[in-house]
């Protein structure tokens, strides 16, 4: 018999990343369905004082591995720390964030624990005690339901920004237990971290994305999208054409060879809508397309289409957004 459900949190630069709370909320639902306690695992440096926050999202007991050597994610160090905790239990399921580090940790951890991993899930159901998880394949062109073999431990990484995050309940106090950290000899290390402090919004976590394509014509023209993004509190993305042309960094690329995003609002500017791009942004809640070519395939996916010269339209739209913001 299983004795718990496990939720692994991600801690960076002194705080839990929001996806940790989404993962805890989702794991809580499964724990409730199975009538099991939810154990949290939090690994990092300085994580001890913050661990109680996981309780607000339904974690009953948090096991904390706090060590200066764990400040940055290094697989060789994190995997044994997490695995040794899980191996003491008989979990019914293990949940992790499908963040950059979480996807990496979950894969190595699944090999260590000799089990199956459903990566980057968008939905989890627990029906009659059987756990099933749904995940996009082909960058969202198709969706797959996965199930585990009898006796296999379900490991599930949850795509950020998709699972419902329950409201924080500060009256729910998690029990916090510090665990002794016995780090192995590692042959790898983090030499340095550079965090962007300009307040730029990360694409995979953004609620609004303004994306530019071939129609932007030059790197400097993205300034008008930056301005619009600033008004909207949005992230700026790009199509492969714009990245290949060297107008935007690779980290901005949205599509099948790039990031798969799922914002509330995706504004595609000067993007024709190649199938690879549509795959990467097709799960956005609302799509706006701005393109002067009325035949552009992007219009077949857009909730709102504007057939206009983007260089005239985007500044006008930015101005209207500014006006609207100042009156609300």
């Amino acid at each position: 018999m299983a004795d718990c459900v496990v939720s692994i949190a991600e801690f960076r630069a002194g705080n839990f990343r929001r996806v940790s709370f989404e993962v805890a909320s989702e794991a809580r639902k499964v724990a409730d369905a199975l009538n099991l306690p939810l154990y949290g695992i939090a690994v990092g440096c300085g994580v001890g004082e913050k661990a109680v926050e996981l309780g607000y999202y339904g974690v009953d007991k948090v096991f904390v591995a706090d060590d200066a050597a764990l400040e940055n994610y290094v697989p060789e160090l994190y995997v044994p720390v997490v695995a040794s905790l899980i191996e003491q239990w008989q979990p019914a399921a293990v949940f992790l964030p499908a963040s950059v580090d979480g996807k990496d940790l979950s894969a190595r951890l699944a090999a260590r624990l000799q089990t199956g991993l459903a990566q980057d899930c968008i939905q989890v159901v627990c029906d009659g005690g059987v756990i099933k998880a749904k995940r996009p394949i082909f960058a969202g062109k198709c969706l797959a339901w996965c199930e585990w073999a009898d006796g296999a431990l379900p490991m599930i990484s949850c795509r950020p920004n998709v699972m419902d995050c329950q409201a924080a309940d500060a009256t729910r106090q998690a029990q916090v237990e510090k665990v002794p950290v016995d780090l192995p000899e590692a042959r790898s290390q983090a030499l340095g971290v550079e965090l962007d402090t300009t307040g730029k919004v990360e694409l995979t976590e953004a609620e609004i994305i303004v994306s530019g394509g071939r129609g932007m014509k030059a790197a400097e023209n993205f300034a008008i999208l930056e301005q619009l993004a600033k008004e909207l509190g949005a992230a700026v993305g790009a199509s492969r054409a714009a990245v290949d042309a060297g107008w935007r960094p690779h980290s901005d690329q949205v599509g099948q060879t790039g990031k798969v995003v799922n914002p509330n609002l995706y504004i595609a500017v000067g993007i024709s809508g190649a199938i690879q791009h549509l795959a990467g942004m097709g799960s956005s809640k609302y799509i706006v397309a701005v393109n002067k070519d009325p035949e552009a395939p992007i219009f077949t996916k857009a909730d709102y289409g504007i057939v206009e010269d983007l260089f005239k339209f985007i500044p006008a739209f930015t101005e209207e957004v500014r006006k609207m913001k100042s009156t609300c």
Binding site: V100, Q114, L143, W148, R187, D196, Q256, E320
Partner: protein, 265 residues
């Protein structure tokens, strides 16, 4: 430097994906097959390492005979030899089963470094590299957008949400490739390269040649499987905001629609 690239063949990213009548797989007829783009970045990175340090680049792949074409393409780009693991027992394997087979194949080659894509553009599992590294007991550095080696260590840059990390490992190590075509700019196979590739060694292997059985790597060993596939909800084209409005009018109408109807701004 003895370099190994793990290469997967995937459907071209332009492919339209259709669900097969069994409801659990996709229709593979008429698909055009390519080297998984992230693995192609790995081939390019491997060739650059070889140019700097000398040595050999071995391509290790798995799948049916059609995969030979992708391995030959990598050989035409400049890799030296290939190993294709073609065993029916691998059909229905999960990531761990495939990783076991690949780890065994890698072990026999005793490489200094193994490179592969951080993910494949088909099933997006993002598991192969970390799993193989775990099974080998090696360090792995994931999602490289740059790669430097002095022959005894490897250093990469890894983008993380809101920043980047520089990671280093001593060899042997495994590195998974991130980035984009713009970052890696993988070379094309030249005509002389294609001619030469035909004569380069390409070894076919079965699980038994690696000392493995279907019980360890095949469908029976799978801990996880796809039970059904579904298409994402069809997006219907919405409305073109026009109504004979001028640019400012359309901008105002769009703001109104997003604020009042969609309630997303």
């Amino acid at each position: 430097m003895n370099i190994v690239v793990l290469l997967k063949q995937t459907p071209d990213t332009e492919s339209v994906i259709r669900i097969a009548p069994d409801g659990q797989s996709i229709v593979t007829q008429d698909l055009k097959w390519i080297i998984n783009p992230y693995d192609e970045f790995a081939v390019e990175a491997a060739l650059r390492l070889k140019e700097k340090h000398g040595g050999t680049v071995t391509i290790v792949s798995w799948g049916p005979q059609r995969v030979v074409e992708s391995v030959r393409t990598a050989l035409a780009m400049g890799a030296d030899k290939g190993v294709l693991l073609d065993d029916e027992a691998l059909e229905g394997s999960d990531s761990l089963g495939v990783a076991r087979a690949l780890a065994a194949a890698v072990q026999g080659l005793e490489p200094d470094i193994v490179l592969c894509g951080s993910r494949a553009v088909d099933y997006d599992l993002a598991q192969r590299g970390p799993m193989v590294a775990e099974l080998l007991g090696w360090p792995h550095l994931g999602l490289a957008v740059s790669l430097e080696s002095d022959g005894s260590t490897v250093t990469i840059e890894r983008p993380i949400e809101g920043g980047k990390v520089t990671l280093q490992a001593s060899l042997p190590a495994l590195v998974t490739m991130g980035g984009s075509h713009a970052v890696w700019n993988p070379r094309y196979a030249s005509l002389p390269g294609i001619m030469k590739a035909k004569k380069k060694p390409l070894e076919m292997k079965k699980l038994a040649d690696l000392g493995l059985s279907a019980d360890e790597c095949g469908a029976q060993a799978a801990k996880i499987r796809i039970v059904s596939l579904e298409m994402p909800p069809e997006r219907k084209p919405g409305r073109i905001i026009d109504d004979g409005l001028d640019t400012e009018g359309k901008a105002a109408a769009l703001v109104k629609a997003l604020h009042e109807e969609a309630k997303v701004i």
